[in-house]
Symmetry: C2
Subunit: 560 residues, 2 copies
């Protein structure tokens, strides 16, 4: 292996971190190591500390460091690769996952005086307790017609950076004062590896209101939110952001010693798990939509120019690939809907059939669903079990099933649910194309495509587009991180000069693709028109029954 | 028992006949005998005969005779009652259940030459193969603005008399020719018992286009349907109809010998199972709605004057009780929806819970549903699993569930289904009251009220009305038949002169009643408004998606 060069990808997920060793020449994954976070998702009480409120979700940054300390040596060993043969390191992170630190990057929760204060810890992306702050941000943003409102498709989320920062200030101003920095985990981990506080354009753009060439909203905006927030950018965030693929710095001596890697090994600017997957799916040019399909779906596509597309999670220049506008949309529940149905909607006869066929019950269900033709069930669903992210951006919408008869069977309902999620994706594609952002083909990665052939065929039939699968379906974020590591090294360092070049060599799609069947597509065009009518009726104010039912429900539950 | 007098009720159901022995003085049921039909519902092939088409449902009249031959002696014996102590006999029948006979009442299917001809047999109420004929009848009826169209709430059903007669003529004209009579089973059985062909006003009015004082539509109407139908009334049906409660004749010597009853025992004019239940529920005056609650619900109420109420199954003078207008409405699936959910929607955890609690799974489900408050589930359903009978009269409507989240549980869905059926009943009540037909309280009978306290409380809460239960919940048609037997005997014969008098003594309600809870009613008023909006949107042309999905489904299935 002496002539071979390798890149490391470190992928920070919700429950664990994954380190992969990738061959730079062809993107082959040589080995990987998964290190679970010891404290996992902290959503009930702090370790040896107080109970948390509902909707809280924290993490311990110590767990992030442990992924490097344990995971890198383990992966290298499994790969039979020596540290000096690693030419670059890339990372990717969940987002928005900010933490408060001191000026030198020490997390406040590492300090004895703050470790029992919940606001001193990392707020994980799925911390949902900052909704009042998000509401206020949207109100003020809309009143002042701030640019970020449009970039985010009309709404700033409670999951994002400033909602969480404002919650710290509202609920624990002492922690807010003590925080000399608020920083995304994506940037904090790069700071740890290199000693350089260099923040990335991706989280800044998608989660942090930052717009290239314009920077942040004015101090006046922040002052309107809260008088003490006025100088948050100057004092705790900064104005410098670095585009993806750049080298943030070299690996510190400390971490070189801990891991066996060479001191000074180039480390890439931080990145986000979903966004880094795009080049790992071979996509560095406009025209191809990447779908990261799991419990939810992230839809990512590149465009030549800025466009205000309805319901975007974000529209960011250089946000995915340098030199392009990166558009991100999403469906808030996909795999989650199927998991819900598996838990709550599968009757006895499916379980009996599965036992008879000696297969998991999900397979028995899929067999029945697959035996149906489009339109045969007579059912139609709206896939809003967890609200609607794109294009309606409305968490108060709920799911619908329509078309029941006394002959309706479980396999039919399952198929209708799959079809509804595909209609949701088609709605997003049509929103893109209505604004001139082309979507010619699709590439999928994530956990769902591997498990579910029927689902993939239905997505192809409904969208009328070929769907390719990333070769590394489930680890394409880690591959994308390693690709950025190779770019940080540059050609001179044994890597590549651009992410496009890296993708050409390191990213691949499988031979298996899903092509739309013309006959099915024709029927789905009819069904999609029906979906679209219901979508607009319930989603655009034709009948706000879902919101009223949710409000009534809240009121009833609160009375108890 | 020498001074006691008894009446017999013979109740002809779909699968069996029931004979009850009732004490005339107080309506007490002394004993009963259930005789299953040997040929049951004939829906696949004739006994030793050809296969039947889809949607066919026939019966063998021999089974009706066997109920008398076997059931009467068995019930008398069980009651310890001697034949001569029976002062009167009443019957009730499913409807419309017509058969072709010779002039002397012999069913054509009893004749060797016709027994292999499906059209020679009894067409059971749920024979659904005459839809083309029903469509033609409605078309012609509407063009000519015939009175029956309004009496039937805008639509004549494929289940009814002339749809079935026209199907015979269209498909087997030889049988049509051979039929010297077409007669309802309700009237045929009375003919057998008494030797008198005396037809009743109830089936004639509710199923046969007959209107008191006006008779049938003109010969021209029938000629427009089919040239050979022109003289169907004159030659095969007749113009004489007798009001309910009258004596049709005395029991023949033949049947007296077979049963041990006295020759000449008064036999009442025939009646229909649902309609005869009304006085058995104590109702002989306007203001109280009777609900016969089972797989479906029949709603019956009396009025002072004729009113065109939307979506009636029928509006007939003297149709339920002499001297009143009888209004009949219905929901085409109620218990059937719950049975569907039990078969297709109950997940594993409910079965596990039931095993743990050592109760049937339906009880575990009801326990969860009962623990919820109105509005707590956030769900809303349209109860159209089998179309909508009243008030929309549209078989192509389908069921809806709306409000799903990832937290939705099976108990919540079950409760939403119950609530939807209650909203369906409230819609019918509001249709009555909007036309001045008062509904102050409700009386329920049938199989559902006994099994399901939660359902009854929800019906009371949703309708905002007290619901009483008939004492003989499951056998109130048979009691009603016996009451008519007592009226046929008259006071002089040891019975009563009017059905009102009979009801006063023989019919009772239980002490248990369901009273609406004000707080629940208030929430259900809100939910009912939402139901009403969806009802009109999907049911009155706002969005005909259900019909288009059904049409698409038919097209797909036919291509296979």
């Amino acid at each position: 292996m002496s002539n071979e060069r390798f890149a490391l990808g470190i992928d920070y997920g919700t429950e664990s971190g994954r380190v992969v060793v990738i061959r730079v020449r062809n993107g082959e994954e040589i080995a990987s190591a998964v290190i679970p976070y010891l404290d996992g998702v902290i959503d009930e009480r702090l370790p040896q500390g107080p109970r948390l409120g509902p909707d809280w979700a924290l993490q311990n940054p110590q767990d992030y460091l442990r992924v490097i300390e344990k995971g890198v040596p383990k992966a290298l060993k499994a790969a039979g690769v020596k540290g000096p043969d690693v030419i670059g390191i890339g990372t990717d992170f969940t987002a928005s996952t900010p933490l408060p630190t001191t000026r030198d990057g020490t997390p406040l929760c590492f300090l004895a005086e703050y470790r029992k204060r919940p606001h001193a810890w990392v707020k994980l992306w799925k911390h949902h307790a900052a909704q009042p702050e998000a509401n206020q941000i949207n109100e003020v943003g809309r009143e002042r017609n701030e640019d970020f409102i449009q970039a985010y498709g009309g709404k700033y989320s409670s999951e994002w950076f400033f909602s969480k920062v404002l919650q710290v200030l509202n609920e624990d101003p002492e922690i807010y004062d003590a925080a000399e920095r608020f920083i995304e985990g994506a940037d904090w981990i790069v700071w740890q590896l290199t000693g350089e506080e260099k923040r990335n354009t991706c989280t800044a753009g998608y989660k942090g209101m930052w717009i290239r060439g314009k920077g942040f909203p004015s101090d006046e905006f922040f002052r309107t939110l809260h008088p003490r927030l006025e100088d948050v950018i100057d004092t705790k965030v900064g104005m410098d952001f670095y585009p993806l693929g750049q080298k943030a710095g070299g690996l510190t001596a400390f971490w070189a010693r801990k891991t066996g890697l060479r001191e000074g090994t180039p480390v890439s600017i931080g990145n986000v798990d979903a966004h880094v997957a795009v080049p790992a799916c071979t996509v560095t040019q406009p025209g191809t939509l990447v779908m990261i399909m799991g419990t939810s779906i992230c839809h990512m596509v590149l465009g030549e120019v800025r466009q205000a597309v309805e319901g975007m999670c974000g529209t960011v220049e250089d946000g995915i690939v340098p030199g392009r506008w990166g558009f991100e949309a999403g469906q808030s529940a996909v795999g989650d809907i199927f998991a819900w149905f598996f838990a709550h909607g599968v009757p006895d006869y499916i379980h009996r059939e599965a036992r008879k066929l000696k297969v998991p019950f999900a397979a028995a269900l899929e067999k029945r669903a697959a035996a149906l033709k489009p339109g045969e069930s007579g059912l139609l669903a709206l896939d809003w079990w967890n609200g609607n992210r794109s294009v309606l951006v409305d968490v108060d919408l709920t799911g619908v099933l329509l078309g029941f008869t006394l002959a309706t069977k479980a396999g039919e309902i399952y198929r209708a649910l799959i079809e509804a999620t595909a209609f949701g994706t088609r709605t997003i594609i049509e929103a893109f194309e209505s604004k001139g952002v082309e979507v010619k083909t699709l590439v999928a990665c994530g956990g769902l495509p591997e498990k579910n052939q029927l689902l993939m065929q239905i997505f192809a039939d409904v969208t009328g587009r070929e769907i390719k699968l990333a070769e590394q379906l489930q680890t394409c974020s880690a591959l994308g991180a390693a690709m950025h590591g190779a770019v940080a090294a540059g050609r001179a360092g044994g890597g590549y000069d651009t992410i496009g070049e890296a993708a050409k060599h390191m990213a691949h799609v499988q031979k298996l693709t899903y092509r739309p069947k013309a006959q099915n597509h024709a029927v789905y065009n009819q069904l999609f028109r029906e979906y679209h009518t219901l979508h607009d009726y319930f989603g655009r104010g034709g009948n706000d029954v879902m919101k009223r039912l949710k409000a009534l429900r809240r009121q009833i539950v609160e009375q108890q």
